[in-house]
């Protein structure tokens, strides 16, 4: 009798195991990725929406089963814009067994460059500093470098300026992030870009720019290209506005036309500078929600789905975060489609093959993402926007900087 009871229990246990077995295989794989960025502290105005963009897109991928039963687990940590914390976070992520990494600042990307190469970790930073990819096999810029953006703006000035060589001043962040594009603009000038670089100003935290604007005026500066973040640009625009020096149309004689690269613009600039932001020219590779289109709709729908506020929903840095999550998802999807194991090496190979017919077209960028062994800049295409009636409007067609290619 006792033996019979045990046999029944064994049969029940075996049946339970058989039922459980398919269930566990259907649960799918979990692919670990991570993002370390400034959610609080300096530059968190950009980092906060960026983190939400990445978080929301990964949630969307999992909720909509875009990878079938497999899911992406992206651990997001705040590094407060401190390299020491980023390093600590990265070491923790490695212990967790991540297969793809998203980083943030220029400083930490440069500091960890050798670590990324040593552990062969494909990495997408939020910094578009050209120096990030110099001598690195594993760092990939999401979009055109700051240098390409600034040179692109200078090219636009040359193409649309009337009469003689345009006089340009540069207003840059006092760091590698700000300085490097100046060197590249100088190289472009040597290569034939027809602008006169009158002066380069590394800004501090001054709240009054009267002397600077007056000096530029006396030197005949016609265009100011900014490579920094929004708040100093807002201060500059307000100061120039108070002195009546902001051009009301591109290249207006006797006044200055202000232009800037990715992190100078966006809705935060309009919020900070108010009316003084009118006629500010800005370039990025992302779509903006003030220009109707499929990308804007998709971005707003994603934000709405996960209950984001209006500011976050309309931020170009939210689009920035979405984009890196899209690339991460895409390389995983492609590796899966090939039947390859999802690991660092295979995802790296997928990035290298993302070109030509295999280029990736995210809906939130103005051009395709292309990477190869020699090309570590994702979206090369730039779009120029200009502030009209308190909103950024597209100006002309998307373009690729000609001189950025020439000086490579």
């Amino acid at each position: 009798m006792k033996t019979k009871k045990i046999s029944i229990w064994l049969v029940v246990a075996a049946a339970a195991l058989m039922l459980a077995a398919p269930g566990s295989s259907m649960a799918g794989e979990v692919y670990k990725t991570a993002l370390s960025l400034a959610i609080t502290g300096p530059t968190s105005d950009a980092g906060n929406p960026y983190s939400k963009g990445a978080e929301d897109y990964f949630r969307y991928v999992n909720d909509m089963n875009l990878l079938g039963d497999d899911t992406i687990e992206c651990t997001i940590r705040d590094d407060k814009y401190e390299t020491a914390i980023t390093k600590r976070n990265f070491e923790e992520f490695l212990d967790m067994g991540i297969v793809f990494y998203l980083n943030y600042s220029t400083g930490s990307t440069l500091a960890l460059k050798r670590d990324f190469d040593e552990v062969k970790m494909p990495t997408l930073p939020a910094s578009f500093h050209a120096g990030n990819i110099e001598g690195s096999d594993y760092i990939f810029l999401p979009i055109a470098s700051y240098s390409a953006q600034n040179i692109g703006l200078a090219e636009y000035v040359v193409d649309h300026h009337e009469g003689g060589t345009p006089k340009v001043a540069m207003y840059v962040h006092p760091s590698a992030f700000g300085r490097e594009p100046v060197k590249d603009i100088e190289k472009a000038i040597e290569a034939g870009l027809d602008i006169e670089l009158v002066e380069t100003v590394e800004h501090g935290q001054d709240l009054d720019v009267t002397a600077m604007i007056q000096r530029w005026r006396s030197k005949g500066v016609e265009y100011v290209i900014s490579q920094t973040v929004q708040s100093p640009v807002a201060t500059m625009l307000k100061g120039a506005g108070n002195l009546g020096q902001v051009a009301e149309s591109f290249g207006e004689e006797g006044k200055m036309t202000f232009l800037g690269a990715h992190y100078t613009g966006g809705n935060d600039l309009i919020a900070l500078a108010g009316d003084a932001a009118e006629n500010f020219y800005w370039t990025t590779s992302y779509i903006v929600t003030s220009e109707p289109g499929a990308g804007a709709e998709a971005q707003l729908e994603l934000a709405q789905r996960y209950g984001r506020d209006e500011k976050t929903s309309n931020s170009h840095n939210y689009a920035n975060g979405i984009m890196v999550a899209q690339v991460t998802t895409e390389v995983i999807r492609r590796a899966k489609a090939r039947g390859n194991e999802i690991n660092k090496e295979n995802l790296y190979q997928e990035l290298l093959e993302m070109n030509g017919m295999n280029a990736f077209y995210p809906v939130t960028t103005v051009g395709p993402v292309t990477y190869s062994k020699d090309d570590h800049q994702g979206v090369d295409t730039l779009q120029l926007y200009v502030v009209r009636d308190g909103a950024f409007r597209a100006e002309g067609k998307p373009f690729i900087s000609e001189y950025a290619e020439k000086i490579k």
């Binding site: 959610i39 390299t83 976070n89 400083g107 460059k113 760091s175 590698a176």
Partner: protein
């Protein structure tokens, strides 16, 4: 005349200054210290820590070496300095700029690293002696302004000069040991031991300095520089000497940090960091050698806890509020103020109370 039993604290009395100046008052103290060292050197063989936590421990040990210096100038000599991170930066950039000039894989960087660390300490000391010169004429807030100026000048120089890559990260190669190159998998453990040896040797060094006439003159000048002057000491030179010592330890700490992080970037040596080292010194205990260990450990652990709290707050609060950004400076400020009000002698005093309780147990006093 000494007590018959050198193992007991009770009944010990001294008949010569030399006896009073002993590093270990009893054999028990010496034994406990030896056991403590055995634990510190052997725990990695029994407990496996994550890389993240090894990095945190390594950073605490670096801060301990830096705080040795700051405590000498602030705690023992009574001179205020808010440029300590810049002194560390001098050390870090000594290694990094040499690596930049001769190549970061040069044998001097990779094999002669103890020499480079010592050289960085000497560079820090030289800078300390220069920055300490105003102490010949300045005191209190005026001296604070002088050290603050040094901090700002350091940041400006690093951020502007090509030699220092204009503040961009400068790489330092992996070091070699008897077993060959210290690879990534052994990196943090290797530096744990290197740092531990430096902490112990430096700690004994500081303890010995304090036993000498030079060390005792630091305390005398702090307590009353006019009285010290009347007794034949030179208060000005004593203060400059204190800055030199502070610079030496900071320089070594900076070089060690450069080796640990495999390079130097200017954001590790900002005014904010200087204030953190000052907080470590105050929380640990000004003028207490044990405080140099407690302070950095407490502040670094607090840092981790606040980080978790800020992350949690950042997740539930609207981004526009950005309260989480304020949590860190708020918590540091609060900790410093609370320590200054309720325990100005720092955590070292808690340690003193615990030790005396254990020594006297079962008696209360």
């Amino acid at each position: 005349m000494m007590s018959a039993n050198r193992w007991m604290a009770t009944g010990n009395y001294f008949t010569a200054y030399r006896q009073e100046q002993r590093i270990f008052a009893t054999h028990t103290d010496r034994l406990m210290f030896a056991l403590f060292l055995v634990v510190l050197f052997s725990w990695p063989y029994f407990i496996e820590l994550s890389t993240k936590h090894m990095l945190v421990i390594d950073n605490i040990l670096i801060a301990v070496i830096a705080v040795y210096g700051l405590n000498l100038v602030t705690g023992f000599a009574g001179q205020i300095s808010v440029g300590h991170a810049a002194f560390m930066g001098v050390g870090a950039y000594t290694v990094a700029s040499v690596a930049g000039v001769i190549g970061d894989q040069h044998v001097l960087i990779t094999h002669a690293w103890p020499l480079m660390i010592l050289l960085s300490g000497l560079m820090g000391a030289a800078m300390g002696l220069i920055v300490g010169l105003p102490a010949l004429r300045l005191r209190h807030l005026y001296l604070l302004m002088a050290t603050l100026s040094f901090q700002l000048i350091f940041q400006w120089i690093i951020g502007s000069m090509e030699l220092f890559n204009q503040g961009q990260f400068m790489y330092v190669g992996r070091v070699h040991w008897f077993s060959g190159e210290v690879g990534r998998s052994q990196h943090y453990m290797f530096w744990y031991y290197a740092l531990l040896v430096t902490v112990v040797v430096s700690g004994l060094g500081v303890r010995n300095i304090l036993r000498t006439r030079y060390g005792r003159s630091l305390v005398a000048v702090r307590d009353n520089d006019r009285a010290a002057d009347a007794m034949g000491m030179h208060p000005g030179l004593t203060k400059v000497f204190a800055f030199g010592l502070a610079g030496f330890f900071a320089g070594m700490a900076g070089a060690l940090q450069a080796y640990l992080n495999r390079g130097a970037g200017f954001e590790t040596f900002t005014l904010h960091e200087s204030i953190q080292y000052l907080a470590m010194t105050i929380v640990g205990g000004l003028g207490q050698l044990t405080g140099c260990i407690f302070g950095p450990a407490a502040i670094r652990i607090l840092d981790l806890q606040v980080e978790s709290l800020a992350q949690w707050a950042g997740g539930i609060l609207p981004s526009s509020l950005d309260l989480a950004t304020g949590l860190r400076p708020l918590s540091f400020g609060l900790v410093i103020v609370l320590f200054l009000i309720f325990e100005p002698r720092g955590i070292a005093n808690w340690w003193r109370i615990i030790r005396s309780y254990i020594k006297l147990w079962p008696f209360r006093y």
